[in-house]
């Protein structure tokens, strides 16, 4: 596929910002676990926080194809930053777009799309991740409030977010149909950050365990009807998968670019290592894989933009792109030799950052389950 002129313009603007303001600091943020507030603001000002949100809700009014382009650019600068932005777009904004009422949109979607509020998504629990239906967090109705109790695991931006979409069980007897979705401002009493995880990578993005202890949420903060929670949660995942796939491509691209430049400079046995066939073939393969993944993701995004079903395609794109990215980043380390293993070169960090793309927003195995179902 070819980018439209508009998409190309967005790409150029985001790339310029990311390469000037984000990429040069990514290593430092990784080392110090710094959350890049200022640069996230900069990205918000470029419209990156609510890319597919229409202008009437203060979004950029663009489509998923452009979202893919934008997330690739951000991830090419820093994987952790791209995760924060990705979650804010999908599932947070996309869920509100689809299921929030006008008042909720006014109160939450607008500031989220503008970048005045940061969003988090609380689905996973300590005992259950892949099986979204097996939640234990409860929301008990008490007058015109719900009272939330439970533990949520691995919540991206759990500490830095202003508002979280939380999935909780309202009717324990109704199984998958007993789950509801709530918008919870993180300042609500009873919303506690229990721990921040020490991760392999993506240190600039906080991943938190959140404790809900008698956390009282007004009725007005419920999304849709009671029992619609699982449907709501899963609705956000298609776009989310396009997002993670795009991030994977961005990280792979950055590692590839670093490896290519290094291979042309580094001399071994009297010539640039690029001239050794094994190195050149490896780079050729990396370039091919990145391009194949990109086309697959853009195809899924194009289907989504056209309003056609794309569950299978989004799953395929996420599966292929995230696995491709790990291979490419590993190859980029190998091309750097010993230097690739040190924090002095970006490929070391990117390799750590990219591994989670095969895990979050549905593991590779879950993508295969979805693709398998589509084939059944």
């Amino acid at each position: 596929m070819r980018l439209t002129d508009e998409q190309r313009a967005v790409q150029e603007a985001v790339r310029a910002y990311v390469q000037a303001e984000i990429a040069p600091h990514a290593a430092e943020w990784d080392r110090t676990h710094h959350f890049p507030k200022e640069q996230l603001r900069g990205l918000a000002d470029l419209g990156c926080w609510g890319i597919a949100v229409p202008p009437e809700w203060d979004g950029a009014g663009l489509d998923y194809s452009t979202l893919s382009v934008v997330l690739e650019e951000i991830a090419a600068g820093d994987g952790a930053t791209s995760t924060v932005v990705s979650v804010n777009n999908c599932p947070v904004c996309s869920i509100l777009m689809a299921f929030a009422n006008a008042a909720q949109k006014e109160r939450f979607l607008k500031p989220l799309a503008r970048g005045d509020m940061l969003g988090a998504f609380c689905l996973t629990e300590p005992h259950v991740g892949s099986e979204a239906g097996g939640l234990r967090t409860t929301a008990r109705r008490d007058g015109d409030h719900y009272v939330l109790n439970g533990v949520k695991q691995f919540v991206t931006s759990g500490k830095n977010a202003d508002v979280a979409i939380v999935m909780a069980v309202t009717d324990p007897d109704a199984g998958k149909k007993g789950i509801s979705a709530f918008v919870v401002p993180t300042a609500t009493p009873g919303y506690t950050v229990a721990r921040i995880e020490e991760k392999l990578g993506q240190h600039a993005s906080d991943t938190a365990q959140i404790l809900f202890e008698d956390c009282r949420v007004p009725l007005a903060n419920r999304l849709g009807e009671e029992g619609m929670g699982l449907k709501i949660a899963l609705s956000g995942l298609e776009g989310g998968r396009i997002g993670i796939a795009s991030q994977s491509i961005g990280m792979a691209r950055a590692a590839f670019a670093a490896a290519l430049a290094y291979a042309k400079e580094r001399v071994a046995f009297g010539k640039p290592i690029f001239e050794h066939q094994a190195v050149q073939f490896r780079l050729a393969e990396m370039a091919t894989q990145i391009e194949a993944a990109r086309q697959l993701v853009h195809h899924a995004a194009a289907l989504k933009d056209a309003g056609e079903p794309c569950l299978k395609e989004a799953a395929m794109a996420k599966l292929f792109a995230s696995e491709m990215a790990e291979r490419v980043c590993s190859a980029a380390i190998q091309i750097h030799g010993g230097y690739g293993y040190t924090a002095d070169f970006p490929v070391e960090r990117i390799y750590r950052d990219v591994r989670v793309c095969q895990i979050y927003e549905g593991t590779s195995e879950v993508q295969k389950i979805l693709i398998g179902r589509a084939l059944a």
């Binding site: 080392r31 996973t124 005992h127 259950v128 991740g129 892949s130 099986e131 097996g134 695991q153 691995f154 995880e197 020490e198 991760k199 392999l200 990578g201 001399v267 071994a268 046995f269 009297g270 050794h276 094994a278 190195v279 790990e326 590993s330 380390i333 190998q334 030799g337 010993g338 690739g340 293993y341 040190t342 924090a343 002095d344 070391e348 390799y351 750590r352 591994r355 989670v356 095969q358 895990i359 979050y360 593991t363 590779s364 195995e365 295969k368």
Partner: protein, 384 residues
């Protein structure tokens, strides 16, 4: 896991297993409790070397006349396996062991008497400095140079990625001692680092994994070393000496790789048995069963090959091509299996608190050091 009656090993004698029990106790008390602290300070405690030395664990395959324990590579294997079993990558006894092999096999009698007992006791920590900022694969391209001045060598140059670099008391330095091009001008110099003007240890490098291992840059600026510091006493033999001992180093890397594969399969099977997904243990999903079946099969294939390598090394008939194959294949396998295993941990696999995440970070360099795997293929290909 059900025990296997397939017993491919001849080196695992009762004697060796007795030694293993001793090593395991040592590792449990002296290594495992300190790992996080070492990772933070980027090196093990210096006393660890003395403690291991006092128990005869640092020179198990060195003759007792030089302070060793008269064992063989099987004893080194046990040490590596037990360290790997607790996920340790900080205590680089392998590099230390290789230094001893250089001296034992290639050194003069005087060098053996002077250094081996101190390396055995832990009074000295050994390191090997081959790689330079400008190149690691192409060893013939070394630029570090030693000029003869009277009864001294004057050493100038820079080395990088030197394991044990921060704590090293004795560094085997690859340097040019002659003007001959290529391999012929290269010698190995035994450089004592204490009170050695001009010798400087650079920073401990920040790495993807193996954080407790002190991998350093080393700088030599007009460093004077005595004339008899040339390993074996004769100049120009350095490249030959390296080529002779690299099979030992590469086999040790393969030993740690296979031990890591076995550990990964074990801890992942344990996790998958406990973790429930969609109402049943993760281990009951066919994908999980097949991934782990595959990994376990490869682990045994690797183990079988490796055991033959250990036997060959113990009997002094390990060849360079086979050692290259062992290093290449087992380290590629290590990264592949650990990656597959990490995936089965889901989100927890990405958390450093889970050993599999640490193993993933630690593993990646195994395909790079000890000769990058591309160089292994070069060496193997030359035998075609």
């Amino acid at each position: 896991m059900a025990p296997s009656t397939f017993q491919p090993t001849s080196w695992r004698t009762p004697d060796i297993e007795e030694y293993r029990a001793q090593v395991r106790r040592f590792v449990a008390t002296e290594v495992a409790p300190h790992q996080q602290r070492w990772a933070k300070q980027q090196h093990v405690d210096r006393e660890l070397w003395n403690k291991a030395g006092a128990l005869g664990m640092l020179a198990s395959d060195v003759p007792s006349e030089y302070g060793g324990s008269d064992g063989n590579v099987a004893h080194q294997t046990v040490m590596i396996e037990e360290l790997t079993a607790v996920g340790d990558t900080a205590f680089s006894i392998s590099v230390h062991a290789i230094v001893q092999q250089y001296i034992l096999k290639q050194g003069t009698e005087e060098q053996k008497r002077r250094y081996l007992p101190k390396l055995a006791s832990g009074e000295m920590v050994g390191a090997i400095a081959m790689t330079e900022p400008g190149g690691g694969s192409d060893l013939q391209g070394v630029r570090t140079r030693a000029e003869r001045q009277g009864d001294h060598w004057v050493l100038n140059g820079a080395k990088t990625f030197i394991s044990n670099g921060f704590l090293a008391d004795l560094v085997v330095v690859v340097a040019r001692t002659g003007t001959e091009p290529g391999a012929r001008g290269i010698s190995l110099l035994l450089v004592e680092t204490k009170d050695r003007p001009g010798y400087r240890v650079g920073r401990v490098l920040e790495k993807l994994g193996q954080k407790g291992q002190d991998t350093c840059e080393l700088f030599f600026e007009d460093v004077h070393v005595p004339a008899d510091a040339v390993l074996g006493g004769e100049t120009g033999r350095g490249f030959y000496q390296l080529m002779t001992e690299l099979p030992y180093e590469r086999t040790l890397i393969a030993i740690s790789a296979v031990a890591a594969v076995e550990r990964a399969v074990q801890i992942t099977a344990d996790y998958a048995r406990e973790r429930m997904v969609f109402g049943k243990p993760l281990l009951e999903m066919q994908n999980t069963r097949f991934v782990l079946a595959d990994a376990k099969t490869k682990a045994l294939v690797a183990r079988t090959f490796l055991d033959r390598c250990i036997e060959a090394l113990a009997e002094g008939r390990m060849d360079s091509v086979t050692a290259s194959m062992a290093k290449l294949w087992t380290t590629d396998l290590q990264c592949e299996v650990i990656d597959d295993c990490l995936q089965l941990f889901g989100g927890y696999g990405y958390m450093l608190e889970y050993p599999i995440a640490q193993m993933y970070a630690d593993a990646r360099v195994q395909r790079i050091y000890g000769g990058a795997n591309e160089i292994m293929k070069e060496l193997i290909a030359r035998s075609l």
